[in-house]
Point group: C2
Chain length 136, copies 2
DNA sequence: ATTCGTGCAAACCGTTTGCAAGGGA
DNA sequence: TCCCTTGCAAACGGTTTGCACGAAT
């Protein structure tokens, strides 16, 4: 994803294009492994040592709010971020802290269809379904 | 769950039975809403003001390690604990921080069976499947 | 005697916040 | 001018850690 694409992505969300925001998105880009803030900060500081930690947190928060990225929940109590906004699931291996994306629209549809047929859930409008596959 | 049941549960896991551990399990018991440490601490301090915060964290950690309870991941960066060890799923409402348990063995089996048929996943031994249903 | 569990308090560290300054519309 | 964004540093707060004491085996 080039800088141009990033810029238009930001504009589409009503966000101003700044070097810091571009740097954050670039750091997230091409990471299919859900980096935490620390990783992002380090990666950015390589090319852009003057960017400040608070700013990065702020940017990440606004991105989450504007749904440019998503938070991911793992065992450790640190924020992790997922640049992929398409519906997808996660595979977690029990003895490592890696989180691998798993795309399977058929599975998503299968589960959603099943849930739609459940009367206990009839008062809930299901927005999405996230499946964690725990392997060993 | 009585004190006696709690005691034998601890013994089965090779854990010594202490008043503090009983207090923690009692505080967790009957909570199907995934309390965080703060809630647990407050609840315990009512009857047992002398118990210490560090101890409660220690106990929760050992319980997780011995699989007496499980951690739950939510948006806020605080530990939450789930006293229910049976396979189950979670319903999360987008505009509240509540997590509701959802039991559905049929759904679990449906997904597991589906995944077993996937060749991409053939090198993974699936231990369990956790589904988060996000509603609005 | 050794191991395990607890209480206490300090330390830790990831994250948040306040504020002043810069920059674009 | 006004509003948004950044940098910096201090503060925050949930969690962890170190240590000494006590209990149990």
């Amino acid at each position: 994803m080039g800088v141009k694409d990033i810029a238009s992505k930001l504009k589409n969300k009503g966000l101003k294009v700044t070097p810091q925001r571009i740097a954050v998105l670039e750091a997230l880009d091409g990471n299919n492994s859900h980096p935490n803030a620390e990783f992002i900060i380090k990666k950015i500081k390589n090319n852009n040592p003057s960017i400040s930690v608070g700013t990065i947190y702020n940017i990440l928060d606004t991105f989450v709010e504007k749904e440019v990225i998503a938070k991911v929940h793992t065992d450790d109590n640190v924020m992790r971020y997922d640049p992929l906004m398409q519906d997808h699931h996660h595979i977690l291996m029990k003895d490592s802290d890696k989180v691998v994306d798993y795309f399977d629209d058929e599975l998503t549809a299968l589960v959603k269809d099943y849930l739609r047929g459940k009367k206990e859930l009839s008062d809930i409008e299901i927005e999405s379904v996230k499946i964690n596959i725990i392997g060993k």
